[in-house]
């Protein structure tokens, strides 16, 4: 996995590089937006970490050019935006321009690496047929699930709910958005039904250390898998 860091602060750039290298990624870093656009057009990266506050060509412009240039390529290049957040609403603007996620400086490194993992997993899920989460593997083509190598029986609705949660690991997914993703046209699915599916999923997954948190009054969050 190859990551491009675009950050003009040398201290932060070197810190990010070291952490991501320690996680096993190949890392390239530049402090100039122009270089980043050029590099992305010539080489293949799996993820870009992009600072908004760059000198000359700012992060928004880099993001815009990456999106224009990337539209004819196979898969979308995930972009994680770093922002110092004041003045314009950087976050909203970044997400509007097609950033996949944002982080506000300063941030904790474990959170950064978690977000990077989630983004990479998501982009692979788009392209590839397999979603992996700790001991859990979903083969989206064959629609079969495996837990620690053993086949796992999942009802269609359970599968659908799990797929939604897996697409947004470490993020709260509201019940409403699960209903929207799971219910077919004209179908009326109650929040209670979602609770039932989630509790069945929990019964099947928690013995393997995969945890689905309830966020009261809001929804659920699939926690990142941590080796015990």
């Amino acid at each position: 996995m190859r990551i491009l860091i675009v950050e003009d602060d040398p201290s932060l750039a070197s810190g990010l590089s070291r952490i991501l290298q320690a996680e096993g990624y190949a890392v390239d870093a530049t402090g100039r937006g122009e270089d980043a656009v050029l590099a992305a057009s010539q080489e293949r990266f799996d993820l870009v970490i992009l600072d908004i506050g760059l000198p000359r060509m700012d992060g928004f412009e880099v993001l815009r050019r990456l999106r224009v240039a990337g539209s004819d390529k196979s898969g979308p290049l995930p972009v994680l935006v770093l922002t110092a957040r004041d003045a314009v609403d950087d976050r909203v603007r970044g997400l509007d321009l097609g950033a996949d996620d944002y982080m506000v400086k300063p941030f904790a490194m474990p959170e950064l690496t978690a977000r990077v993992r989630a983004l990479l997993r998501r982009s692979q899920a788009h392209g590839g047929p397999r979603i992996v989460h700790g001991p859990l593997t979903l083969d989206t083509v064959a629609r079969r699930a495996f837990l620690a190598g053993e086949p796992l029986e999942l009802a269609a609705r359970e599968w659908a709910v799990l797929e939604v949660l897996l697409a947004r690991v470490e993020k709260i997914v509201s019940k409403e958005s699960i209903i929207q993703a799971v219910a077919g046209w004209g179908e009326d699915l109650s929040p209670n039904a979602i609770e039932v599916y989630v509790s069945r999923l929990r019964a099947k997954l928690e013995p393997s250390g995969i945890r689905i948190r309830t966020v009261r009054g809001f929804g659920y969050m699939l926690e990142e898998y941590k080796d015990a």
Binding site: V88, D89, K105, P106, P110, G217, F218
Partner: protein, 452 residues
Amino acid sequence: MRPRSLRAHLLRMLLPPISALLAVGAVVAYYPSLEPATEAYDQALVDVGIALGTHISIADGAFRFEVPPAVEQVLRTDRYDTIYYRVLGPDGQEIAGEPLLPPPPEGAEASAELISYDTKIKGQKLRAVSVLAPCGRRACTVLVAETTVKRSRLTRDIMFSSLFPEILIAIATLVIVWFGVKRGLGPLSRLSEEIKARSPRDLRAIDAVAAPEETRPLLDALNGLLEQVAEGNRNQQRFLANAAHQLRTPLAGLQAHTEIALSQPLPESCRLQLEQVHQATIRTARLANQLLALARAESGGRASTSPVNLKALVEGEADQWVHQALAREVDLGFGLDPATVDGDALLLREAIANLAHNALEYVPPGGHVTVRTGLRDGAPFMEVEDDGPGIPALERGRVIERFYRIPGTGGTGSGLGLAIVREIALAHGASMEISDGALGKGCRVEIRFPHG
């Protein structure tokens, strides 16, 4: 000093000239009409004098004067005035009548056949005429005088009839000025109502179209000032944005490197110190964020005001809090109903984030924190409720002071959180209320917005 009332000032300026005009008008109307009237009365006296003169006769070289009772009667029956007469011989000898009636003074008004003059008898004001009457070959003098009751009445009547309409006109003028000024200043009152109703963050130019022409210079000056303030705000916003970036980026670097260092095997003493550095970095970053938010809230500036959906705002932020909640083993819950307010999304997010962080920080493990949005009695609100130690009623006034922390509390807060929330609430015309949580336990902080 009391401000000068434009109306009172106008009236004060108008009153002297109007009074002067009134006086001049009265004089101008009075004398021309008084003269013919006085002449008519004088003529009547002359007629009496001539009539009396015919009653002088000469017998044995002596003058005699006898008035028939009918004439006497006429003289007595004047309704208003007492009439006096005196008949003098050609050489000035007393013939008849009232001897106290003075003769005309030297240089009295004289025409061919009569002399008229003002005089007095026993302190009474009189108008008198002197008429010559034939006495044989010579002429006798007949003086006739009457009191001035009739004449005073006439004077009064003339004065009144000429002054009355003028006084009416003067009063009407003052009334018209009084209400005219009020009416004329009406657009100004409406403007001031409009300005009063503005939020302090609203620095748009005042619409001068509806205002009277004369107030344009004032409005232009005011709008110029507003523009300058707005420009100052924009400069401050730019400065804050730059400062934010300049501060946060090196802090991010510092945090990254301490975390890298901490992830490596270290001697225990070194690790403890590095952990202190790490904690201090995080606190500094949080403090920088809060100070910037506070400055932003205070600087006003309406640039980024737009309709903000509070429910979506909290949903977008919830991810950030849930990790803190998990780390502290606090149950974080939500009760989100749609509610929309006009405001600065960034500041509103900062406000609710501060409330959530505060609650998550001070609630002990196993506690509950609930974030709510929605409408209460039709007014949008957002609130955070917890079942932690709460804020004693006596401290509630103080916790909104900057850098104030309740003595003996743990946590690593700067004491700025609630001061920021309050400032942000004020900037949105909203109120911040601190009350007990449900069941009298913990604490509930509510931001209540004005009715949409």
